[in-house]
Amino acid sequence: MPRWGMVIDLNTCTGCGACIAACKNENNVAYSSPEEAENGRALSWINLLPRYEGEFPNIHIQYYPMLCMQCDNPPCIKVCPVRATYKADNGIVAQIYPRCIGCRYCMAACPYTVKYFNWYEPKWEPEMIKSFNPDVSLRPKGVVEKCTFCHHRLIEAREEAMVEGIEFQEEQFVPACVETCPARAMHFGDLDDPNSMVSKLANSSRAVRFLEDLGTEPKVYYLSASEKLI
């Protein structure tokens, strides 16, 4: 069983935000108005966390793409009262929307603040409705949602391989953000496969993870020139 993981090269990332747009389209993430976003109600499975260093004009800006870290030891699944969030065998932390009761305990327990709640009935602009991705279910109001590593693409890739009668290759499964990244700063693959790009990058000396000392074992790695993130 592969252990899916992601590596993001911070020195290559330009902070363009294409991953955010790709993710929203791919996963039918509800649209939130600027006012709602201002009130902390925006839904965005991947986000850019900016970090400013120094004073103008000698300012250094670093963007950190933040998404569900798909922890190997996720604090969110431990607290869920109804098992609406769980870790699948392939390491992806999943969310069962029709079961979630909306207590938001997982959001309170997540140290990375990357889970999102449907505060209202989700809405989209008319054009967006026309281009819904049929592979991703729409979430109703009152449930928690988050990045799934586009696991519907995994199912699709497996089915395709089966139909074509070939063996499923790990390269066939790529999340939308990774596929879109114009700077090729994002890498995706099997962390347990020693020959894969991600496992090589994840084992490089530049690889760091967020809040490593919490023991959550996130599967999203960042490549950074500095030894510590943030």
Partner: protein
């Protein structure tokens, strides 16, 4: 009918008067407004509250912890006083037990109104994970509610029988609820036995309830929550706010129903001694909790710490310290101010202070995320305020309705005290004396 020295205790039941109806009407109005706001929230979604990302919990969880905390007044105090054979408990226990039952029902509703999908509440039984602290809560609150309502009801049976025999209306209610209690020797024996079992049982359940509520927070890794002291800290706070609430209720009904002959200065003095001890204990726990956090100086912990001490929440934090510690200690350790008005002020202060404490535990830890996101803001909306006021209204309505149908002071226990306790206590005191036959030296 023969002369009954305790006739005043039946007053609210046998001649309720107009003020009862006005109060009930007013309270129902308040509760309906809250209900309307809740229906609106149910239809539109939790967006109508002030909660957001990252402050995903707000007033509802704060009030949940607060109301369940108040519930410790009751049963626990009454069980401990009964168990330790404190004779002065007799006019107090009933009110304490009523507080528990009502407040538990209200507190237990709060996690449900906090849910994004209350329609799926039964998933807790269908797919419940006992590993989740929320399920521990469901379990222990259900157990406590059962135990405390039974513990309220059992000692109420003889009083219901007295009311039935006095011909109080509605007769069918008293006939049904009194279970044919006639006060025979055997019935009294069974009653006492049941009470003894219940009061021993209720104490560990009560303590488990607030411990488990603290576990909701302390089981997560969040700074400011992840603390081993939280269990006992919450229990102490709960008993503290519970006694304060009990004193407020006692002072109110003493005034309204003219119970001055029953609730005397001495009862308030004793209870406020307990309150003073709890204020000191609360300070001790708060001090230990924050000093440990400060001394270690872990950066994430410090972010939350300074948010409370000097940041946005500083007015609330220091308000809490004033209400919970400075005010009650000044009032209750001074003989001149330790009178009923002073005790009332201290109790109201503590109730507000303990509510602030719950707010200060819930919100700042959520607002200050570990990763450098902007600090969260939480401003409760009108919906949350009206549901809060509605909950307080429900508490009052519960009490008013109870007082309309049942005596707020346990009549039979007062009578029993008058008839037997002087003899019993003097016998007990004698048994404490050194044994003459053993001290005699040859």
């Amino acid at each position: 009918m023969s002369y009954d020295p305790d006739a005043i205790l039946y007053g609210p039941i046998e001649s309720p008067g107009k003020s009862f109806r006005y109060t009930v009407a007013g309270l129902i109005l308040v509760i309906s407004l809250a209900l309307f706001m809740y229906v609106r929230q149910f239809v539109l979604g939790l967006g109508v509250t002030g909660m957001n990302e990252p402050v995903t919990w707000g007033f509802y969880i704060v009030n949940f912890v607060f109301f369940i905390g108040i519930s410790h007044a009751g049963t626990l105090i009454s069980a401990i006083l009964r168990l330790s054979k404190a004779e002065w408990r007799r006019p107090i226990t009933r009110m304490a037990e009523v507080i528990t039952a009502i407040v538990l029902a209200i507190g237990g509703l709060h996690p449900i109104i906090d849910l994004g999908r209350p329609d799926r509440i039964l998933n807790i039984f269908r797919a419940g994970r006992l590993q989740s602290p929320l399920l521990w809560d469901v379990t222990s609150i259900a157990a406590y509610f059962t135990a405390s309502t039974v513990y309220l009801y059992v000692p109420l049976i003889p009083d219901i029988a007295i009311l039935r025999d006095r011909g109080a209306k509605p007769q069918w209610l008293y006939k049904f609820l009194s279970w044919g209690f006639q006060g025979t020797k055997k019935q009294k024996h069974v009653l006492e036995r049941a009470m003894n079992i219940l009061m021993v049982m209720v104490i560990p359940i009560a303590i488990s309830v607030h411990t488990v509520i603290s576990y909701i927070f302390s089981m997560t890794l969040q700074p400011g929550w992840h603390s081993t002291i939280f269990g006992p800290y919450f229990v102490v706070g709960a008993i503290f706010s519970g006694i304060a609430a009990l004193l407020i209720v006692m002072i109110t009904f003493r005034k309204v129903f003219h119970f001055e002959a029953y609730l005397k200065e001495v009862h308030f003095r004793y209870l406020s001694n307990l309150l003073l001890v709890m204020a000191l204990l609360w300070f001790y726990f708060t001090f230990s909790e924050y000093l440990t956090g400060y001394f270690g100086h872990e950066p994430y912990e410090m972010k939350v710490f300074f948010y409370k001490f000097t940041g946005k929440y500083a007015p609330l934090y220091w308000g809490m310290v004033f209400c919970n510690f400075i005010l009650p200690v000044i009032i209750l350790s001074n003989k001149k101010t330790k009178k009923i008005p002073g005790i009332l002020i201290a109790s109201i202060g503590i109730t507000i202070g303990m509510w602030l404490e719950r707010l200060i535990i819930v919100v700042p830890s959520l607002a200050n995320t570990r990763l450098p996101y902007p600090t969260g803001i939480y401003i409760p909306s009108l919906t949350e305020w009206s549901l809060f006021i509605g909950a307080v209204g429900m508490f009052m309505l519960g009490f008013v309705l109870f007082s309309r149908f049942f005596p707020l002071i346990s009549v039979w226990e007062i009578k029993e005290g008058r008839e037997t306790s002087v003899r019993e206590v003097s016998e007990r005191l004698k048994s404490y004396q050194p044994d003459q036959s053993l001290t005699e030296t040859d």
